[in-house]
């Protein structure tokens, strides 16, 4: 049987919607099902309106769905706002004792608060009861939920685990006893899973640790604070240092200091915070210091909508900084991509001694998905030309030149503190030794040396991938977190007889000019799909290839694309 079931859990900030969503997801994941979880929240801690969506499938899932099968409403507003999103036969779970509505057929009242107090001993358990109730409605295996609760609350002691399990059980039993039969949709485990369930931030932070990033400095900012927090939480066990800096300027400059000293180092911020790091980016470029910066996009300009998603910083990333220097900008599309591109970011940063930007957005940062466990044996650590103590010795005392002219433009690195060599570099223009200069000739050679490195970077970049048949008539083009939505839109459109494929760009700089040009030359019609108002990828494609994309599907309200939305927009243009 095909399962494609979406829960929407709505209420106020502070009601613990996220833990309902997470517990449900984990329980399904443990049952071998595929899960996608996304969050919509306001820039506040309590109150307002917020929701979490959990989509469960028996096949891999890459994105959210607009069609809701079960609405778990912790307040009345949720019902008012989202009732219409329910599919036919979709259920509403709510606490009828607290939310006085005219209960229609699909409204299943569960005394959440009462059960929480009775069985869990506290109102805090309301969300656990709700989680249990949802599972009961679907007749899912309760033990898997119990496992999740044990893991989640294990740290807090046995008592806490027990009362949570009891509360969940109470909801489960209540729903099952009262509504099974009337409500007959069922989800069953597919088998025991070996999949992980994590979000983009966790994937990047994990990728960084795996890649050997030992130092992170950052200033908290949505949507990348979790990257900092995750890294900080692993400091003791993995020999890391995290510094919460006084501002973003300090963060990137600390990272440069650490990179100079020979350690893999990273910072994470939002586009607006990155605006404060632009000078530092240039410093990394000038001193040829490898650094990695994660930039999480959210709507702007300035502070904008702090907790929402956006893809409007693409051109900013490519052009940021005075004068010209090589950089790479990665735009991971999925959780897996986020993990592997982070590792690659460190490799490229060190091999070419350049800054690498990992450009994500709130939607990728905050959305969870079930993915196959990363195979760590496949991780390659490439630190580039790094001279050993022996090699330094062989050069003769103090003959090392940090910015030596080479054919590739890459000058071997040395670790400051190595006997017999000095590592000298400068934010000013400098000579091979790293000392400040004024003359035109050295300047010209240094500029060319730095720019030459970009040729090497270009060769490292894998061509963008096509999803669907190579020779489709219509090509949908995207970058970043829209991968899932476009991919599913392609599936749907093809089913509906529209010959479409997807071109996906997860490295926007160096831009894969030839490949994109080739694909566009083959397509009869092309669309870009972007979370911005002007079509920045379309602009970049035109700048780089001279080719115009035919249509733009743009959205800049801070909310992610759904496949349905894309399908509708494509059809409008294709039929019209």
């Amino acid at each position: 049987m095909t399962i494609d079931f979406t829960f929407k859990i709505g209420g106020e900030a502070g009601q613990g919607l996220q833990s309902i969503g997470y517990a449900l997801s984990k329980a399904f994941a443990k049952g071998g099902l595929y899960v996608f979880l996304n969050q919509d929240y306001e820039s506040r801690i309590r109150g307002g309106h917020t929701f979490v969506q959990v989509r469960v499938r028996n096949e891999p899932v890459y994105t959210l769905s607009e069609e809701v099968n079960m609405l778990i409403a912790l307040n009345k507003e949720t019902i008012d706002l989202h009732k219409t999103e329910l599919v036919k036969g979709g259920a509403i779970i709510f606490d009828g004792e607290k939310i006085p509505i005219k209960a229609e057929d699909n409204c299943y009242s569960v005394p959440l608060e009462k059960l929480a107090l009775e069985k869990g001993g506290s109102k805090i358990m309301i969300n656990t009861v709700a989680t249990g109730a949802a599972m009961g409605m679907l007749d899912y295996d309760f033990n898997l939920l119990a496992d999740v609760l044990s893991e989640e609350f294990g740290r807090k002691g046995k008592d806490v685990v027990e009362s949570n399990v009891k509360a969940a059980r109470a909801g489960y039993d209540y729903a099952k006893e009262n509504y099974r039969g009337k409500y007959d949709f069922t989800i069953r485990p597919l088998g025991s899973s070996k999949r992980m369930f994590l979000n983009g931030s966790e994937a990047i932070a994990t990728g960084a640790i795996v890649a050997g990033c030992k130092f992170m400095a950052g200033y908290p900012m949505t949507p990348t604070s979790l990257i900092l927090e995750f890294f900080a939480s692993k400091a003791r066990d993995y020999n890391l240092v995290f510094v919460q800096s006084e501002d973003e300027l300090a963060a990137i400059n600390m990272v440069i200091g650490a990179g100079y000293a020979g350690v893999r180092a990273m910072t994470a911020t939002a586009g607006d915070g990155f605006a404060l790091m632009v000078e530092g980016l240039g410093q990394a470029g000038m001193t040829e210091t490898p650094i990695v910066a994660v930039v999480g996009q959210r709507p702007g300009p300035a502070v904008g909508l702090p907790t929402r998603t956006s893809q409007a910083d693409l051109l900013f990333m490519i052009g940021a900084g005075n004068d010209e220097f090589p950089r790479a900008v990665f735009t991971p599309s999925t959780i897996e991509d986020a993990f592997w591109l982070t590792i690659k970011a460190f490799n490229i940063a060190e091999k070419y001694q350049i800054p690498v930007i990992i450009l994500i957005d709130q939607h990728l940062a905050d959305s969870y998905r079930t993915v196959d466990r990363f195979d760590l044996s496949k991780v390659k650590i490439e630190r580039g030309e790094m001279l050993s103590e022996e090699q330094i010795k062989a050069m003769g005392p103090y003959n090392y030149k940090r910015h030596q002219f080479t054919e590739s433009g890459v000058s071997p690195r040395a670790i400051p503190g190595t006997p017999g060599c000095l590592v000298v570099t400068d934010a000013d223009e400098h000579n091979e030794e790293g000392h400040i200069i004024e003359d035109a000739e050295t300047r010209t050679k240094m500029v060319l040396k730095r720019l030459r490195k970009f040729e090497g970077v270009k060769k490292e970049i894998e061509p963008p991938k096509i999803y669907g048949p190579e020779d489709a008539k219509i090509t949908l083009i995207g970058w970043g977190s829209t991968y899932g939505a476009i991919r599913e839109a392609v599936d749907t459109l093809r089913k509906d007889g529209i010959d479409v494929n997807m071109l996906y760009i997860n490295v926007v700089w160096p831009f894969p000019k030839d490949e994109v040009s080739l694909v566009l030359s083959k397509a009869e019609m092309s669309f870009v799909i972007e979370n911005n108002a002007t079509g920045q990828l379309a602009y970049l494609i035109k700048s780089e290839t001279g080719r115009e994309v035919n249509e733009k599907i743009l959205k800049f309200d801070g909310r992610p694309f759904s496949p349905t939305h894309i399908v509708k927009e494509v059809k409008k243009k294709v039929k019209g």
Partner: protein
């Protein structure tokens, strides 16, 4: 034995008579007297006349952005705490552009020495007021004289709990050498603010002006361990200007408090992807 020759660098671009020469000499002498080899030392400098210092000697050098010497020094120190890290810059660099980093470095008590060439003027950009310019001082950007109070780095440092707060004078090189040595021996963030005549742009605070006013705390009965009297001493500016250690105390450094660094410098830690399986387990 390390000698001054080991630290000899290329030609300087400072004006003849500039106080920076004495500071350069003092830094070199301090390093020699501490018997440190150039490769063991990292100088991170800002942008300005002062920021050029490491280019005129020999050691590991990271000439950072204007105002950012301190954060770059912190990053380098935490990455390799076996390095002797000195940050160097001007008064505009450190107290203007870099003011925020200065404050937070004090709070962290990172184990670096910070030498500020305080000439009370923007030298390299040709004579604008600096945060430490005296009130009334006429400069290119203050044609009617400075109207802000001068920034008092010593009082500020003491107020934030700095553990080593000192002032030197370019005209007292022997004294300065001792200060720098003590600052480097001190565990924690050590400030050495150095009065440095800018012979070209600061016609107010000249060699003479300083010489007349400066007096050494060493040899007086001044007690640099009392925070309150230290604060009072830090406020002294005018007819008499104290030099020497103004305040010194002990407190755990940032680096000492990091469990990770007990296992050796970060830069020497192995990279081992396979050791990370446990993180993945958490997501299962």
């Amino acid at each position: 034995m390390v000698t001054l020759k080991d630290y000899e660098g290329g030609p300087t671009a400072w004006c003849p008579g500039c106080g920076n020469f004495s500071i350069l000499l003092a830094v070199k002498r301090a390093l020699v007297e501490m018997n440190l080899e150039p490769y063991q030392v990292l100088i991170v400098s800002g942008i300005g006349q002062a920021g050029k210092l490491p280019h005129y000697m020999r050691c590991n050098t990271l000439n950072a952005l204007h105002g950012r010497a301190v954060p770059e020094a912190i990053g380098a120190k935490l990455a390799n705490h076996e390095l002797k890290v000195i940050a160097v810059g001007g008064d505009g660099d450190g107290y203007g552009e870099g003011g925020n980093h200065f404050m937070h470095a004090i709070l962290r008590n990172i184990d670096i020495t910070y030498i500020v060439h305080n000439n009370q003027i923007y030298g390299l950009t040709k004579g604008q007021a600096s945060p430490t310019s005296d009130k009334g001082f006429v400069t290119k950007t203050t044609p009617e004289g400075v109207i802000s109070l001068p920034f008092n780095p010593l009082a500020l440092a003491i107020s934030l709990g700095a553990t080593f707060v000192s002032r030197g004078f370019a005209g007292e090189v022997d004294h300065l050498v001792e200060l720098i040595k003590k600052a480097m021996q001190h565990k924690g963030f050590a400030l050495v603010d150095v009065l440095q005549p800018c012979v070209t742009f600061n016609k107010l605070n000249t060699w003479e002006w300083y010489r007349k006013r400066v007096y050494k705390l060493e040899g007086t009965d001044y007690d640099h361990t009392n925070r309150l009297t230290a604060f009072q001493k830090a406020l002294e500016w005018g007819d008499r200007i104290p030099i020497g250690i103004i305040y010194k105390s002990d407190r755990l450094t940032f680096d000492e408090q990091l469990p990770t660094l007990k296992k050796g410098p970060l830069v020497k830690q192995k990279i081992d992807p396979l050791a990370c399986e446990k993180i993945l387990d958490e997501f299962m």
